[in-house]
């Protein structure tokens, strides 16, 4: 008993050491903002956080249904496991890198490492203006954490059916750290240079979709085509999963966009309306496009169009009126449909069209924000830098372009460097036999369905 106590004691000491280093006990920092937590706003942001969380498993189903049967678990797991790995990193250092006190407009400092120094009150001034002045800062932490999870998860669609789990794991850790955290800081962090510039991104057109879309393109190019690219057709094995995933993604997206108001107010309600309008219009227009072009309206087209519409409306969702969202969605459908077609021409194998939908949809959405943003919807939009179609001035559109181009290229380049590095450490893709047998059995030793005797 004494010995055990001793062990506990020394265990406790060790723990305390680590704790001090990481700031474990620090939740109740003394300083803090004078602002008060509002229960209604907090309720909405927490509910939204849960909604955004669900998008990642939903994405797993969405993606998982589109691959061949032998890769279904590997594909879902490549989404789901990011809830684990990126979830831990976010608390350890991701949040402080992205949202911590600014260093040169480029990155957050390590002041809030391990969430140390955060208390149960709203973020202190001047952060509260961006991180919510009526919600506990931890609500901001975890709401943003869900974005840090889904963004790398989106990329996995590009290298589905061939990337090794080990390489994937290292890649994700590096990408979350070196691409996502800085880019989130640029756009949404207090002092980030793109935010300061006045580029608008309500819920992640650049940070989430362009950033992951560009990375996806890079991955598809570097990792190469799936075995059998010219010979076999890689048709989806279980579209019921994909349709279920679509429902969950759309559902979660309400938190994504309307939660980004960080309050339960008129802006949130407008973002909610606008989100649904964009998704609905995207669904309809993609289906019409393929109906005209190929002669059949498809289930997968409806699903893809909804996602395209959601992607496109995301950056605009806090700045535009409902009818503008309908227009954004109506264009997003055919635009993404065309870009998915283009893929075949350029012969790169972005397995599940991450670039075609998230990249292109995100770019269109960021531009559309520059066309339709109105300060009447959101006073954050400067009256002299509203959308081109509102005031005829292209000032905002120019800023949007800068944001698009810089995030696109930063993500492309750094993703390329990361892949090169990972490739040195461990092979990026499975060998031919493993690819033939399927990633489920070769990477995980499992099979998706045991329907046979």
């Amino acid at each position: 008993m004494n010995i055990r106590r001793l062990r506990l004691r020394s265990g406790a000491s060790l723990y305390l050491l680590v704790a001090v280093l990481l700031g474990i006990g620090c939740t109740p920092a003394v300083a803090g903002s004078a602002a008060k937590v509002d229960a209604g706003d907090t309720a909405w942001v927490l509910a939204s956080t849960a909604l955004v969380f669900l998008m990642t498993p939903g994405l797993g189903l969405f993606y998982g249904g589109m691959v061949r049967r032998k890769n279904v678990l590997a594909t879902i797991t490549q989404s789901l496991f990011i809830c684990g790995i990126a979830g831990v990193l976010w608390i350890l250092y991701g949040y402080t890198l992205a949202f911590g006190p600014d260093l040169g407009g480029l990155i957050g400092s390590l002041d809030w490492i391990g969430l140390r120094g955060l208390d149960m009150k709203p973020a202190p001034d001047p952060f509260s203006s961006l991180y919510g002045s009526t919600i506990p800062q931890e609500a901001h932490v975890i709401f943003q954490g869900m974005f840090a999870i889904i963004t790398p998860a989106l990329i996995t669609g590009a290298f589905a059916e061939r990337m090794r789990f080990k390489a994937y794991l290292i890649f994700i850790i590096l990408w979350a750290t070196l691409v996502y955290d800085p880019v989130a800081h640029w756009v949404w962090g207090h002092g980030g240079w793109l935010g300061e510039l006045g580029a608008l991104d309500f819920a992640g057109g650049t940070v989430v979709h362009i950033c992951s879309g560009a990375a996806a393109l890079c991955c598809a190019l570097v990792i190469g085509r799936r075995k059998g690219y010219d010979r076999e057709h890689f048709s989806p094995h279980n579209l019921t999963l994909t349709l279920a995933g679509t429902g969950l993604l759309w559902f979660g997206w309400f938190g994504f966009n309307a939660g980004s108001a960080l309050a339960a107010n008129g802006l949130a309600a407008n973002a909610f309306v606008v989100t649904n309008a964009g998704a609905a219009a995207g669904m309809v227009s993609w289906v019409l496009a393929e109906w005209v072009h190929r002669g059949k309206p498809t289930a997968l087209g409806a699903a893809s169009g909804a996602i395209a519409g959601l992607v496109a409306v995301t950056p605009a969702s806090g700045f535009v009126a409902p009818i503008a969202a309908v227009v954004i969605g109506l264009i997003a459908g055919p635009a993404c449909y065309l870009s998915v077609m283009a893929k075949t021409r350029f012969r790169y194998d972005d397995s599940l069209d991450v670039f075609g939908i998230h990249g292109v949809g995100g770019i269109w959405g960021a531009l559309a924000t520059g066309l339709f943003a109105a300060s009447s919807v959101n006073p954050v939009v400067a009256t002299d830098a509203q959308g081109l179609f509102i005031t005829g001035s292209a000032v905002l559109l120019g800023r949007q372009l800068i944001a698009i181009v810089s995030v696109l290229f930063y993500s492309l380049i750094v993703t390329y460097l990361i892949l090169t590095l990972v490739g040195v450490l461990t092979p990026l893709r499975a060998c031919e036999d493993e690819e033939d047998a399927g990633m489920d059995i070769s990477q995980h030793g499992e099979v998706g369905y045991a329907f046979h005797p």
């Binding site: 072009h293 498809t298 069209d353």
Partner: protein, 112 residues
């Protein structure tokens, strides 16, 4: 003993089964297969891509019968499975050397 192996449309399975039942053939084994033949396939669409699919879902119905029942079986199946359209399927006949009932170990035509 002859094995009568019919490749039929899945939608006719029920009828074929009943037709065989009617002439006293109760032992059958059914397998879900894909078949290609004269019948045209479908076109599938997957995000702007078109795929011609010419393996269609069919049912394979197998029944091992004494020689004297073969013609009845063929007639029954043909009647129940035929729609007059291409894709109705084929029947193949092949000789079975012996049959054993697992439960009892019995052998020969009696076990059918």
């Amino acid at each position: 003993m002859i094995k009568v192996e019919a490749l039929i449309r899945p939608s006719r399975l029920e009828r074929v089964k009943n037709a065989l039942d009617d002439i006293g053939i109760h032992g059958i084994t059914v397998t879900s297969v894909l078949g290609a033949g004269k019948q045209r396939g479908h076109t599938q669409y997957y995000r702007a891509k078109e795929l011609a699919v010419n393996l269609l879902e069919k049912c394979k119905v197998e029944t091992v019968v004494p020689d004297e029942l073969v013609d009845d079986a063929i007639n029954a199946i043909t009647k129940a499975a035929s729609t007059g359209e291409i894709g109705d399927g084929k029947i193949f006949l092949s000789r079975v050397e012996d049959a054993i009932r697992i439960r009892t170990g019995e052998r020969g035509e009696g076990v059918l």
